[in-house]
């Protein structure tokens, strides 16, 4: 892996350094475009390079069954990261004052607990689904109200909500595992066509649906406008607060949806959902390098999710300690944001 990391760093930093030396003229603009190209292609090249490396080193890696596993294992984190991406698009990329939703992982935990508890109470899957999605939606609504009505910065509002939600999950489950089983849950966690888990299809379908909405509709375009240039969006007559509220509602809904997937995947609710938070944040931020203009996109986030899952999976197959995964995630995010920061700094001058 160190080889790949080194490869990434040279791929990213070589053109950037060259660019730093360039003047702030047309050459600079050209160099910047070149560097953006290198960063984008570089990250894709690294992704593909890692896949090729794993395929050679661990022949089982590049089989339909294993790729299906990787996709299936990505489903929960992927849905959460997509929810976070929507919030980042609508809130702008400044993580402190802009869009961030720290309550997502706790939301998933509580939604899963609600689902499992409703099944335990003898309710059917339909009621449980409504309960889980409703839980997510209510959490999203509280976030939206705290941010747009009370004016709390998203980082703090969602931090406080996260604490409350995590507490409610503990109250509901008494910090135990609530087992849940039903035909619906078994169907979701089973294998689908071509021996690929149903969860994999769910992730791809969900990502395609959200991507279609966010990247290819006027609604999505406005969401980007609100996030990148709130003043311009307001001047153009967009109701900025409505869009931001909508983004948090959508993110809350994603939390509820991920909760359902997690109940199915783990056959019940489990404790410790909060541990998902930082990996999901990193994944969503990492996603920007897989986009054409280095902005958050649904497709980019999906690729980042799969990249991280492939790493974990490949490490397992190669018997490399899984403790390295968080370190690699950290190094990746640092490399990626270093490169983008150097680019942006040059661009702003």
């Amino acid at each position: 892996m160190s080889v790949d990391a080194a490869h990434l760093s040279t791929a990213l930093s070589a053109p950037v350094r060259h660019e730093t030396g360039a003047t702030k003229t047309a050459t600079g603009a050209f160099g910047r475009r070149l560097a953006v190209l290198a960063l984008r292609q570089g990250s894709m090249a690294v992704f593909i390079g890692v896949l090729v490396y794993f395929s050679i080193a661990a022949p089982y890696f590049f089989t339909v069954g294993n790729i299906g596993n990787v996709l299936g294992q990505s489903a929960i984190a992927g849905v959460l990261a997509i929810g976070l991406t929507i919030v980042i698009i609508a809130g702008g990329s400044n993580v402190v004052t802009g869009g961030i939703d720290l309550s997502l992982a706790a939301n998933m935990g509580l939604s899963a607990a609600v689902y499992a508890s409703l099944l335990q109470a003898g309710q059917g899957d339909a009621v449980a689904i409504i309960g889980a999605l409703g839980t997510g939606l209510v959490i999203g609504a509280i976030n939206a109200a705290a941010i747009t009505l009370a004016g709390i910065v998203p980082l703090l509002a969602t931090l406080a909500v996260m604490n409350v939600v995590a507490g409610l999950e503990l109250v509901l489950t008494q910090n135990t595992v609530v087992p849940a089983s039903s035909d619906f849950l078994s169907a979701v966690s089973a294998s689908g066509p071509f021996g690929i888990p149903v969860l994999a299809y769910v992730l791809l379908g969900f990502a395609a649906l959200v991507a279609a909405l966010v990247q290819y509709t006027p609604l999505g375009l406005r969401l980007y406008a609100v996030g990148e240039f709130p003043e311009a969006a307001r001047a153009a007559g967009l109701r900025v607060k409505l869009f931001i509220s909508g983004a948090f509602l959508a993110s809350g809904l994603c939390g509820g949806f991920a909760g359902i997937l997690s109940v199915s995947y783990l056959s019940g609710s489990t404790t410790g959902a909060g541990d998902m938070l930082l990996p999901v944040v990193v994944t969503a931020l990492l996603g920007t390098v897989f986009s054409r203009r280095l902005v958050p996109t649904i497709g980019g986030t999906l690729l980042a999710t799969l990249f991280v899952s492939s790493l974990i999976n490949g490490f397992q197959l190669l018997n490399i300690s899984s403790t390295l995964v968080s370190g690699v995630q950290g190094l990746l995010i640092l490399l990626v944001v270093s490169a983008t920061t150097l680019l942006q700094r040059k661009g702003n001058q």
Binding site: G151, A157, A166, G167, V282, L285, G330, V337
Partner: protein
């Protein structure tokens, strides 16, 4: 934004400032009424030593980062690295003073790494310190064979080792003395030194600092080194108290430290991070944690209640500030 404030808006801001004090008084009164043990001297001292001192030091460190317009998500990493270096040196048979210095250096190393990322490369503090948090977590797992705690054998612990956590100075527990020293020291730095003024100015308008010809990146670098150095003190105290190093345990302080810092901003007329506000925020969180414990409320409901309280203090503070800036 303060210069054109009318008298009406400043009175509204005054209201916002009372939200934290009012919450403190109300919470204090409620616990005194429902839990008789709460108001006893022994209990209040235990609140200060067990709940207040450690969180106060971390939150003060966080306040520095936020005052400079950033944030430090890796304060827990600095705590862990300090703790690890401290325990390792003691296990290696080094004298305690050297181990303490080594621990401080270990924690400060995290800040140097952050400073390189933030000042050197120019990564936003949130992302840089998030990266540090992850890299630090992995590094600790590698250092400890996958995250095993490092215990000090009970027999082999020198008495001097326990001093930071269990000792007293002039009858006052050492953690509390250290907390007060940090509070006083940082207050003086922020309000009475050039460094402090530059830090505060950076948080308000970084570009103005840069245009004034101040070497901003050097001050920013120093800020993040200082944040980690302060957090490292907590690593030493915790280790001395429990005589064990648990990998990645320092992160437990992170969210409360951020919460206390931003609750504290409601105390300032301009909503800026400030040492007295942070201290009051930490006090509020401490007495809530202790009072809920004494009130016999279900442990899990305690977390909900704490979260709700933070939420409402923030909501009132921010809503009032918003009303004030609109007026």
């Amino acid at each position: 934004m303060a210069s054109n404030a009318s008298s009406a808006s400043s009175s509204l801001r005054g209201l916002a400032r009372y939200a934290l004090v009012a919450a403190f008084v109300v919470v204090f009164a409620i616990f005194s009424a429902i839990a008789p043990a709460f108001l006893s001297g022994a209990n209040l001292l235990s609140v200060l030593v067990n709940n207040f001192a450690l969180l106060a030091i971390v939150a003060i460190a966080m306040t520095f980062a936020v005052a400079a317009g950033g944030i430090d998500l890796s304060v827990g990493t600095a705590i862990d690295f300090a703790s690890f270096a401290f325990v390792s040196l003691v296990l290696a048979g080094q004298p305690i003073p050297l181990a303490i210095l080594g621990g401080l250096a270990g924690g400060t190393l995290v800040g140097v790494f952050n400073a390189l990322l933030i000042s050197g490369i120019g990564i936003s503090p949130f992302l840089a310190t998030l990266g540090t948090l992850f890299v630090g977590r992995s590094a600790q797992q590698l250092l400890t064979n996958g995250g095993n705690p490092v215990y000090l054998p009970p027999s082999g612990v020198p008495e001097a080792f326990r001093f930071l956590g269990h000792g007293t100075l002039a009858g006052i527990p050492v953690p509390l003395v250290l907390a007060f020293a940090v509070i006083l020291g940082t207050y003086l730095i922020l309000s009475h030194t050039r460094f402090g003024r530059v830090v505060l100015a950076t948080g308000i308008q970084a570009s103005v600092v840069r245009y004034s010809g101040i070497a901003l990146s050097r001050y920013t670098a120093l800020t993040y080194v200082l944040v980690s150095a302060i957090a490292a003190i907590v690593g030493l105290i915790v280790t001395s108290t429990v005589t064990v190093y648990i990998p990645s345990s320092g992160n437990a302080f992170l969210l409360n430290a951020i919460g206390a810092t931003f609750i504290g901003t409601t105390l300032d007329p301009h909503g800026r991070p400030n040492i007295p506000g942070t201290v009051l925020g930490v006090l509020l969180l401490s007495i809530v944690a202790n009072g809920l414990l004494l009130s016999g409320l279900n442990f899990y409901w305690q977390q909900v209640a704490t979260g709700l309280l933070i939420f409402f203090v923030l909501a009132i503070g921010f809503a009032n500030r918003k009303a004030a800036s609109r007026a």
